[in-house]
Symmetry: D4
Subunit: 248 residues, 8 copies
């Protein structure tokens, strides 16, 4: 059908304008997306979800990205796999606590105004918190870390609440009962991305408890990502922070 | 076997002392319980779980108790059923918000020193909170109510925290995400009985969310009763409060 | 302790400045929040969660707000309750499909630049979608509605994808299998707030299916609120949109 | 009873015809099945579910089948077990990614007209996808693989949609949120067998999320098999494809 | 971009052929689907999911379809709603047991060769079974009903097994423990669509028990649709049956 | 094939004996069951599961049974339905607390030696307990009822434990936490059929709690039936009791 | 109190008879149980649940039993632990497939009349089936094994159904969808103890699927024990079989 | 705002008293908590949750506490980790069965009057029971252990019930079906902290069964902590016991 339309323009049976109208439904289809997607901000990384991929697969994908001069962020890589990758691609830096590999190929990310807050309850949530923090930094955001401020010692949270309030977004990470986002949500007025973690035991059910707590929060302005999804929490914050910097 | 032993005492073949030793295993059995149980504190009520009982059944049980001059507490009675009961037994007082009937037959409960705190998050948890408060009062405790102090407006909690701290026990009631006991638990050092409520919707799953939150609380000194079990929360508090008053 | 410090200033033992330092820990406590919270944008409504409140309770709370000249938004009010409230407070406008009451007391909300997209799959998700849309409008946002664009007829989504792309935020609402946010998330690059609905039957388990789908989305930039929480979805969008308008 | 009937025929008291009528209820019983089942299409394999069987057990069963000159397909065999089996039965070919052993004893399967489509979202679903693809090929079907076409990058799906449309059946495999079958189902008009995988983490709950998504799909023409059941997905496709080839 | 290409053809800068190549990515996009979808088999109905729609909404949608001379099938309509609709659109026929409305506008469906089997366990699954049977008939299939042949009285199943075996597809419906599809699957060699129903109590959990049974079936060739989804079961059967009739 | 065999006997090619051997596989098939099943003990009732059947359906089935002079037991019939049935079939006796209808047509059941114990915890489990007790009586068993002997007042259980011990079987019914079968199981040495009930609230999850308790019992000799399945509990006891009476 | 009563008999204030009446509540208490329990049938084993016990603990308990000349059955012992135990106590026989240790110290169990049937679906359920079979044999029962007769090949079941019918009890073991007890239950008229196994994957949820299937069985006369509890299934059968042999 | 008030005192515009009133809301805020918390009873330990912390982290935290002369309790430390810690800090004593490390730095805890009872069902719950017992002892409580008194052998419980009754609090620990707290709760009149354990298999679901049983207990005076949370159970008992000793 398309070829007929094009033929009709060629033979003058149809003006380009009329054809455009007929083809209008094309225009708003998905095909354009690929291009727009390429127009990324300088220094923003391409992301590889490392879990369930072999070191060989990660090396292959990374090489393709290196050829295009892209910064590369690999999440969920354990130490052993990371070392295997680094032996071949020594430019990768490994952040052990966050299980992240990062390689800079297109220059440093361009930093924007303001900062986001990464808030977490205890030392056991550190892996997820650092996955979030390092992800946000890899996208060029300033990150301020507020760790170990859980509800069971709420005065530690209050000592930092003003600095948290001035962030554009907070990523609040909590395992166990997962009450921290509710408390922070009652004290700040910017958007909060809540990240439940699987830290806990027994009736925690691998993070289900924290997840349900966050979804049921009485505080407004909280939305939730998957259990242990530090990357996802940060990525949402990146999108919001850029809006605040008019850098959509 | 028992009769033989008794016979042997009668016939002098066995001394009472020797028999007592033989029967020693009896002594620590459950049978004595009924009597000990009767020795209740003056004015303490007998309790009827009203749900699933007809008004006729409740009236019958109540009459048996009235004959023994006992105060009577009936929980989980809706308005309609309460009115049916009151038509026959007009001495019952109905507390509509808590779905409770109460009748005094053995004089007022004897009040003890100190008070317990009933803390709850929002107006929607009121039914459970009042079930707890009225239960504790029926057992002769002084109750102080701290309602509408949920985590999403935590400053309201702080305005009352000192008075809460001076209670012997707190019964902390919360629906939705159920985070309140964790927060209170981080601020007081007495035992907390946490009561999850079924208030909420969606991923609340009829109180499961609040229940899990409370069981997973990072704060020490919190134990939990069944969803919506205001009576049970209060009854635990009564037992603990009496210990503190040496009135076991 | 506080009184001692104040006394020392009065007696000149301590300068106000030195005292301020000592009291610095106060400054960042929660108490200030009440005031800051008052400084709301002109026309923004106060919100009452109507479910589980009687019409009398809603009327009482509303009157208190009317006295302060605040716009009032009441969510989750069924028709019967709404009519009972309107008989007493006829200035309330009722939106039946969204179960919302709205009353303007402080002038129209101030509209900001840009718009947000409310995207939903089918006519059965309309109640939640309209709760979201009317909430956002009550906060002064321009809302564009993209209804009936579910994945089972994905060409309808493509017909509007460009207009959706130009929104600052999308609130994407879906019941049944809840796949729509994943699809939209693969086509736009702004933040998406996903709202699962309880529409469905059988293995839908009252919205659990849609909720899990959204939490597990492969697409980045999606965060999730509680099942049927149209208000919450919109409120998150309001916070993000204001950031984009530098109106925190 | 049976013997009496037979006796009566022998003695002429009953004609064979009359007896047949009396025994009619026998005729439609299950016993005939064994024979009919033997009449399989040439080259179709016998299948062994390898999980939970020792290599010795698999070897024994295989030998029995080899004696009958049957092609043999063993599913769910890890590398170590496969190698142990191959040491004894070197004619087995091992497909590591799909955990499958295959041995040809009765000649190549007879290929039919048309092809089926195996569609999957990402590289992590490859094991299940290949289990499906190799199974279908072992049954003599032409398979076309459409991998890495997940909803988060839906334009890749569109690039192949016409070729998918011309298949007789699609087996659509997806983990995480499992939305792919819904999307494909909205674009094609042949039957779709959806296979959820256990790929994911957190609120994925080992494939439950994908399973529920697929069962709740708004798109018609989708039916679902067990989590990670690539074999089952393919086997259903084989039955349907044969119908389309009049080869029941 | 599109308009530029069209302009270039008009001005002769680009041949239609070259343009077609450039636009090739368009060709395999979703837009064409609408047309293809229109080419339905004569007499096949358009389907409206009636649950959650008002009688007014159903009437409106029906009128639009009547204008296009389409047969209309409305599922999940209770008696009261059906009667309200029939008062306005008296051409609708109501099947009470299956909660279905049907209206013929484009002539009878064209019947194909062969038949499908609808097999169900007990009288309580009748509503779902009839939803399936009437749906298939509305699409022009011959349906043979085998009701009340559940596993607890398996000899009744055997009495009909040969007739079931000769169907092209079976839709097997079962509540309670849901074992029937496994048993049928062990006796026939064509594809089986299993439909769990919510019939049962206690540990049935609204059909979960039957659903899990069917997903875990040891018998090959079984795929499953949502609980109580008689329509979906039948629709899958329709697609498969048409393949067998080369009427894709 | 069958007909050929029969023909061969007729024509003398095959002796009846040889044929019998060839047909041996028939002999042990299910078809014989119908007859054997008819040989029931005098007075044993036929059972109709009343839930989900209309009064008309129950009347029809009952009439068919009355024609065969069978005793009839209808379970799960609420009062309203029962009265409708009794208006047509006044010979039915209704047991309101157990929701049972019973009609004697073939004389009283024949009573056997010994008795079974029906043990239950509280008055709220009475409906299920009476369904069990009346069922067992309808099958001609002597039943002894031990009600209101729950674990929270375990001395009441001990008062009757010897009489319980002398039963052939115990059916132990409990809701809430469902601990009673474990306790009884530690005190008796005959088989126990445990029946969980849906009595409870909150974390009871409609009987799930009691069901899990019973399945996990540390006491040996306990097996479990579905939640609220008083009939099933009794029917198992009937089968066991008959074995003890050599009346299989 | 007891001592006073005894004293009164000694001093003649109370007759033994009168005392006996007063102490009547003692008589029916639990204490007597220990003795009755000792009176076990000759050769019946004492049972140790081996899981979670160290080999040293099992050796210690075994030695205490050996001193009392008791046969010993240890369940859930893996090979390694078994060998460690056998090194010290070489009289133990190990059944590897069933993970059982058995030692005869008081002579062979006395065999009773009749047999029980152990029926299971596939080779993967063998461990549980053998745990059941060997347990029953250790208690002196004749066991007939009917393995590999699952519903997906139901003709194999029919080949043996008569022999199964003549058992006193059947223990029916099944994993995956767990439908076998329903089918057997429809064919026999003695009690069935159903044992779900954790064999399966995906939506099997570690045996939950089979457990629910069995609890929801339409066939009467089926009761269920915990997942993988072969011992429990057999022990119930032992109790019932003894009743049938009047050997309570 | 605070600084202004202080300034006004300095300049005499405001008296200290008047300022104190204005600042009153400060006084009852959380900040004071740190100090009050320091005033602990002599010898009470600081607690470290060892799970998920490395031995290095535990050593670092311990050293900080040692510097402050605090007793240290580390829970959930496996043997390997404990030994690594002891190599550096040899003053730690390791209790292997309870997975606890303890170090005394501030002198022995001060013992109070009375004792608490730790009651558990079987040897498999020993780890949790000892975690509870040693925790309570570390806090200076006298502990009496009542192990192996589960409901399946309830006479063992009765042998000790009087001694249990005289405790101030009972911590009752049970896995499997978790019925023990209900039974104890029916026999004593002091508060019971119930601790479910994850001991069990199959339908135990890692302790869920025991947890639900305890939450649904019919006995009053029972509250529950998380699965396997021996420490939490004991800590609640410590708080209650201190109240009974007026040592809040």
């Amino acid at each position: 059908m398309l070829e007929e339309i094009l033929k009709q323009i060629e033979t003058g049976q149809l003006s380009a304008e009329a054809a455009a109208k007929q083809l209008a439904t094309f225009e708003n289809l998905g095909f354009a997306k690929v291009d727009h997607h390429r127009k990324k901000r300088q220094g923003s990384p391409e992301v590889i979800f490392g879990e369930g991929k072999t070191s060989t697969q990660i090396i292959d994908i990374s090489r393709a990205m290196m050829a295009k001069k892209e910064n590369i962020l690999v999440t969920r890589v354990n130490k052993e796999k990371a070392e295997a990758i680094q032996r071949t691609l020594p430019d990768f830096q490994y952040h052990e606590i966050a299980n992240l590999l990062f390689m800079m190929n297109s220059g440093e990310p361009v930093y924007s105004n303001g900062y986001i807050a990464i808030v977490c309850a205890g030392t056991s949530d550190l892996a997820v918190a650092e996955e979030a923090a390092l992800t946000a930094e890899a996208y060029g955001l300033e990150v301020r870390r507020f760790y170990d401020v859980g509800v069971a010692g709420i005065h530690r949270l209050f000592a930092h609440i003003d600095e948290i309030r001035q962030a554009t977004v907070s990523v609040v990470i909590a395992g166990m009962e997962g009450a921290l986002p509710s408390v922070v949500g009652g004290l700040v007025s910017h958007p909060i991305i809540a990240v439940p973690t699987s830290i806990g035991y027994g009736a925690n059910f691998q993070g289900l408890s924290a997840l349900l707590t966050m979804l049921n929060s009485c505080a407004s302005g909280i939305s939730v990502v998957n259990i242990d999804n530090g990357f996802g929490g940060a990525y949402n914050a990146v999108l919001i922070h850029r809006l605040a910097n008019k850098q959509k």
